[in-house]
């Protein structure tokens, strides 16, 4: 009915008004998209300038030129040849890789209990998880440092950063819990009726449905370890053999304090893996951001 009434009304619209409306739409489109291009330049030009500088010769990097005269791809080889650079890569992969696996394994059961079990003190536990999530790491760093360095003699290694991840990470628990509450209880109940125990229900029924949430947590944790500066500064600084990329990167500026080109090449090499991982897992990542921010 409404369609029938609508159609003639639209055809009856006077032609000049329609052209005016169309013109207004075109102008609107142009305005919005020019603004979009301007914003895109703001977000991408820093990457472009950093990349261009990483390909300049030593002397040109000290000039005000924006574009390399000669393209010195060799700069990247020089960065890889810097003593320690490959060790930092290995350490970063160990910290980020092992840390991510431990975090996921230890956080899933906790998040599941907080999302699906009914018990006294559940809201209190959840509030404590959030408090831990919001706690600046510097608040507890003095006793933690004394514990790892003095009691266990583990300073100069990354173990004080990796081992705690086997005991659940507050942010990961929270994000997974948010995700798991969106899975209807009926699936869990049905598995129970079929005679599944809690562990089997979690492994066979809940986990396959929670894959996007787990992917988001794994990504966030991997990036967290990759980006972490404070942790390696506290525990690994005394031993360059335990440095990570984020920590070691800064020493480039020191070692080559006038050579912005090599420092920028190293910077590109620290950024690139994160951006590559993002392109492969964009959906999971964006989902994770909205999940912790808006849902709930």
């Amino acid at each position: 009915m409404t369609q029938l009434l609508d159609t003639p009304a639209r055809t009856l619209t006077p032609a000049p008004e329609a052209t005016a409306a169309r013109r207004r739409n075109v102008l609107h489109w142009i305005a919005v998209h020019s603004l979009g291009v301007a914003a895109a330049l703001f977000f991408t030009l820093p990457f472009v300038f950093v990349f261009l500088t990483s390909l300049m010769s030593d002397s040109q990097a000290l000039s005000r030129d924006l574009i390399p005269h000669t393209w010195e791809w060799d700069n990247y080889r020089k960065v890889f040849d810097t003593p320690g650079f490959l060790t930092w890569w290995r350490n970063t992969l160990l910290y980020a890789g092992l840390g991510t696996v431990l975090t996921v394994v230890s956080s899933v059961p906790v998040a599941y209990a907080l999302a699906k079990f009914r018990f006294r003190g559940r809201n209190l536990a959840l509030m404590l998880v959030i408090s831990m999530m919001m706690l600046p790491p510097q608040v507890v760093v003095i006793p933690m440092y004394l514990f790892w360095a003095r009691q266990l003699d583990l300073s100069g290694t990354l173990w004080p950063l990796i081992v705690p991840m086997a005991l659940g990470d507050a942010f990961s628990i929270f994000l997974l819990r948010q995700f798991l509450t969106t899975i209807p209880d009926e699936y869990v109940d049905a598995a129970k009726v079929d005679g599944c125990g809690d562990v089997r229900t979690l492994l066979k029924v809940v986990l396959p449905m929670a894959k996007p949430g787990i992917a988001a947590v794994a990504l966030f944790q991997f990036f967290y370890a990759w980006n972490d500066y404070f942790g390696p500064q506290i525990y690994a600084s005394e031993n360059p053999g335990a440095w990570t990329l984020s920590y070691g990167l800064e020493s480039f500026k020191g070692a080559h304090h006038t050579d912005w080109n090599l420092t920028m090449a190293a910077t590109v090499l620290v950024m690139a893996p994160v951006i590559l991982v993002f392109f492969f897992a964009q959906k999971a990542f964006v989902e994770g951001v909205t999940l912790t921010g808006v849902k709930g």
Binding site: P46, F119, I142, S246, L249, V289
Partner: protein, 313 residues
């Protein structure tokens, strides 16, 4: 009989809950409760890490508040960052979120480009900006001078270092953009149509339909922004180190806050007192100030109606 099975059932379910929660329960005790109590304890002790700690009463507290020259500058900087950086980030994030919902051609490409800087590792992003904004040969000042605009000293000028950090924070707006984008797409279309029928201009539609609907998200962005500012550490530290030209390495002492204490933040003070001055007691005082501030805003976040947790679901 049935009462007995009920009791044993209950006990089993309690054990099950404990078993599932156990990683976190241990983590909570070892990495939260114990070190927090220990921080309180050390804040009343004189301890340099070499000699056994001795009771010093409130001496650390009076030292930090009355004599430690870096405490009040750091607190003032934090206030500046809360007002200017958090404020601008929320406004800019909302603007970029709005823009992306209006873009109809190539939305995916624009969204990815806008989001990417958020992913740049903080050390790498800060080093990049320290280069882009360096007053000598940096591309930004080169361009500014070419068009005849006076070029600021950015990270080398105490009155421009925080604006430079703010620029870096606006570059990495991706997180807020995604959150605002999701919120804007959730505003019911009928409300816009109704407002349009009533003859509302696009500004009026934004003011009376969009803003009230997304105001909880704006609150969320402000409060989490404040909490993040309490933890703001890597960017101001690296910016100061790179701009001052200090060479990193074993035995390097960097007095944080370059230039002229303008990039000091509270977390840097914990490092400065604990790991550079070996005054663990005073470091714990600053840590507790940081703890109190963070928890006040976390409580705000949790009290929000329909807030972060779905209480009692």
């Amino acid at each position: 009989m049935s009462a007995l099975t009920l009791a044993s059932k209950r006990r089993r379910s309690a054990l099950r809950t404990l078993a599932f929660l156990s990683p976190w329960l241990i983590g909570f005790a070892v990495f939260f409760a114990y070190p927090l109590l220990s921080t309180v304890y050390f804040s009343f002790m004189h301890y340099d890490g070499f000699q056994a700690p001795t009771w010093s009463g409130t001496k650390n507290w009076t030292y930090v508040f009355a004599h430690y020259p870096l405490f009040w500058p750091a607190l003032r900087n934090t206030l500046w960052l809360v007002v200017v950086m958090v404020g601008l980030r929320v406004v800019f994030g909302l603007g970029v979120g709005l823009l992306i919902t209006k873009i109809k051609t190539g939305t995916g490409v624009f969204r990815t480009l806008f989001y990417l800087p958020y992913l740049a590792p903080p050390v790498a992003a800060t080093m990049s900006f320290a280069f882009l904004l360096n007053p000598g040969t940096g591309p930004v000042n080169s361009l500014l001078e070419r068009i005849g605009v006076p070029a600021p000293g950015w990270f080398n000028d105490p009155s421009w270092s925080k604006p430079a950090l703010t620029l870096l924070a606006l570059w990495g707006i991706g997180d807020l953009m995604v959150i605002f984008m999701a919120a804007l797409l959730d505003v019911p279309k009928e409300q816009y149509e109704a407002a349009e029928l009533d003859g509302a201009s696009s500004w009026q539609r934004f003011r009376y339909v969009t803003l009230p609907t997304i105001s909880p998200i704006i609150m969320f962005a402000v409060v989490t922004g404040v909490i993040q500012t309490m933890q703001y550490y890597t960017q101001p530290l690296i910016a100061g180190k790179v701009a001052s030209g200090v060479i990193q390495g074993a035995g390097t002492q960097f007095e944080p806050g370059y230039p002229d204490k303008s990039t000091l933040t509270l977390p840097q003070l914990v490092y400065n007192l604990g790991f550079q001055r070996f005054d663990y007691g005073s470091a714990c005082v600053v840590a507790l100030v940081l703890f109190a501030l963070s928890m006040v805003f976390t409580a705000l976040l949790m009290r929000r109606r329909g807030g972060l947790i779905q209480a009692g679901d």
